[in-house]
Amino acid sequence: MPKVILLIALFFILLFLLPFVPSLIELFLKRDAKPISVDPERKKEPDYFGKSFMYLLSTALKDLKIQEVEKYNSVYLKLKLNREEWVGFLNDENLAENTLDTPVVFTKDTVFLQNHTFKRELVVFGNAVFKNTCIARSLYVQGNCIIEAPVRIARWVHVEGTLITKSNADLGVSVYTREMKIRGWTTFKRAYAKKIDTSDDPLIDKKNVEGTINLQGNFSITGNISIGGKDRPVFVDGDLFCDGDVQIEGDVWIKGNVFSQKSITLKNGVVIGREGKVKSVVAKGEILIKGPFRIYGYIHSEKRVEVNP
């Protein structure tokens, strides 16, 4: 065999093998060999964000051997939360700074009289009242929280007591509270509370009504659905699953869940779930709530929930 042919044959074999080189390197070096990580502890928790942050904070404080933060005067501590950072422990509600770059913990009941921007988490060990415009990344309140001036939260809100919004409020991605009273225009993506309502008036579940239309069982609807309780009250004793838009208006009581692959509109008197039971309203698109409304449980939209009481 002439040398040149031998050379060409060798070169041909080399080129044949070359495409496998990156594969073989990866096969032997195993730079990305592990399977995707599946968390064995994974479960659905509506209070996940607030709980995780407070776990970080309380563990850090426990390590500092601070049992009662209230005893301390205003102080900054360097803690390792997700990363090493300063955390302010304040008890002065007449805070001079407008913008705070670190996580801030108020150690007692606090009324926010001036406008502030909290670029990180805002924690209040006590009750919180917002009387002036405030922006925060996240908000944790150990007691009750009343929003009386426009407030914008970017990430999560966790209120152990009752959350009342009397002014415009953008509550970010996730809200967790014991009870939520929405009395001003409010928006968020998810909210969980034993009771979320927009009015103190008795709605259909607390009224004596006659001539109701009763629908029993669970429903799966391929297109859009519109339920109106203007003329006669409607009781749906089951869940509602819909591929299209859901529009419910008037005296309608859905005792189960409402789920839509598109948007959901709930207007003027709709009640979801029943006292003591957690039920959900879940939509891929927007959820619009207008007028008197009440849900016992959870509202979740991949886009936005807008409440206009």
């Binding site: 990866e26 995707i36 994974r42 189960g256």
Partner: protein, 419 residues
């Protein structure tokens, strides 16, 4: 001779069209999964009225893995008063029975079903027997080598709140991916198959497949539809078609990720592939015509249903294509009627291979956040002939099953985990 050549050429054209159809299907899936509207699964529904659930775990000589899955099921956050676990001990000859009894003593909601004596072996037979004693409204099935996360039973069971959902399927992830070449290839294939293929079929309202594990079904519906056919090895695929032909649907839960143990040995993989192919093709023979004639399926569901049914016949068709092209070559017809067709032949030839094409797997790996894993794509070439051989053997097995109506015996996949 002329007739033979015409026939052979026609087959090549047919094969090209079939393969082209699969490529279009997979490309559509890839586009849809990467950019399209994603259909919401039911994971975000919080509801205190959960259905009662029976978790069935078919087991045959599973002493190596039995404790792992039982410990994880015990740790589940599903309310225990609504949960029962039924490990199905199918003629085990190792310590499986003792292990199950030990757990049953400790946990009252673990109720093992021991199957010995004349009872016919096999997953489908075990499931049929377990269905008779299961008290749950919803049945969740895990193979014994699976490692379910804490909240997964709730994630799967919540889908049955929707009355149209007859079955639900989660995502399978090989835990031993880094072990060797085979497990690494299976890892990236699974990624393509679930992250892109299954989710896209769910998005497009086509036919996501119930896979027999990390999934579940509504007990009343399955009983109403006659349980599992003991002569069909792929009880999961059969259930998928039964559901759709009767107006129910299968929900795909991409969030319900669960580790499994992938075969680490090519012999074990060969047996598994042959068994899957056999079972799947049995289902194809049984449901091909009913799928075409069904009034419950829309046109796209029918097309997807038929292509899904024929997926394990595809390697056999390619095998015939290889024989066909060899014959045509020696008959002097390599050009296949014209030069243009030769180009098409090449196009089809290039697209041969695995069940999920490279771009589908590539996109899935990007979605999964993988990096260097993408370098393994060219190595899928190594599986090409292997898949053709063992899937074709499975096809022949199913063909013989169809002709002889013989009873089938189940072969378990060997486990590799250390106890």
């Amino acid at each position: 001779m002329g007739v033979l050549i015409f026939f052979l050429k026609t087959y090549m054209v047919f094969l090209m069209l079939v393969l082209l159809l699969y490529i279009i299907r997979h490309y559509t899936f890839t586009l849809n999964r990467a950019f399209g509207k994603q259909r919401l699964y039911y994971q975000d529904i919080l509801d205190e009225d959960l259905p009662t659930v029976s978790v069935l775990v078919p087991m045959h000589n599973e002493e190596k893995v039995a404790r792992h899955i039982l410990d994880l099921l015990v740790a589940s956050d599903y309310p225990k008063e609504k949960l029962e676990i039924i490990p199905i001990n199918d003629h085990s000859t190792d310590r499986t029975k003792e292990i199950l009894e030990e757990y049953a003593q400790k946990y009252p909601f673990i109720k093992p079903l021991h199957r010995y004596g004349d009872l016919p072996r096999g997953k489908q037979n075990g499931l049929n027997d377990a269905l008779k004693i299961a008290k749950g409204e919803v049945i969740i099935v895990y193979d014994a080598d699976y490692l379910p996360p804490k909240g997964q039973i709730r994630t799967l069971a919540i889908a049955f709140k929707d009355p149209q959902v007859g079955a639900v399927m989660g995502r399978v992830v090989p835990i031993n991916a880094e072990k060797n070449l085979l497990t690494r290839l299976l890892d990236i294939e699974r990624s393509g198959g679930y992250q892109v293929d299954q989710q896209a079929r769910y998005n497009l309202n086509l036919i996501p497949q119930y896979g027999g594990t990390v999934g579940g079904f509504r007990k009343s519906t399955v009983i109403e539809l006659g349980g599992f056919d003991s002569r069909i090895l792929a009880e999961d695929t059969e259930l998928t078609y039964k559901m759709y032909l009767n107006g129910y649907k299968v929900a795909y839960a991409n969030i319900a990720e669960c580790y499994e143990e992938a075969p680490e040995d090519w012999n074990v993989r060969a047996r598994q592939l042959r068994r899957w192919s056999r079972g799947h093709n049995q289902v194809m023979f049984k449901y091909f015509i009913p799928t075409i004639l069904s009034k419950k399926l829309n046109l796209w569901q029918k097309i997807d249903g038929l292509l899904l049914l024929a997926i394990y016949m595809q390697p056999f068709l390619i095998f015939l294509g290889l024989l066909d092209s060899l014959l045509l070559f020696f008959l002097g017809e390599m050009e296949i009627t014209s030069s243009y067709l030769f180009l098409l032949f090449m196009f089809a030839h290039n697209s041969f291979g695995n069940f999920a094409p490279f771009f589908e797997i590539g996109t899935a790996l990007v979605l999964d956040g993988s990096k260097e894993k993408v370098f393994l794509l060219p190595l899928m070439f190594l599986e090409f002939i292997f898949n053709i051989i063992y899937a074709s053997l499975g096809f022949f097995d199913a063909l013989i099953d169809l002709i002889t109506k013989r009873t089938v015996s189940w072969q378990k996949t060997e486990r590799f985990r250390n106890a």
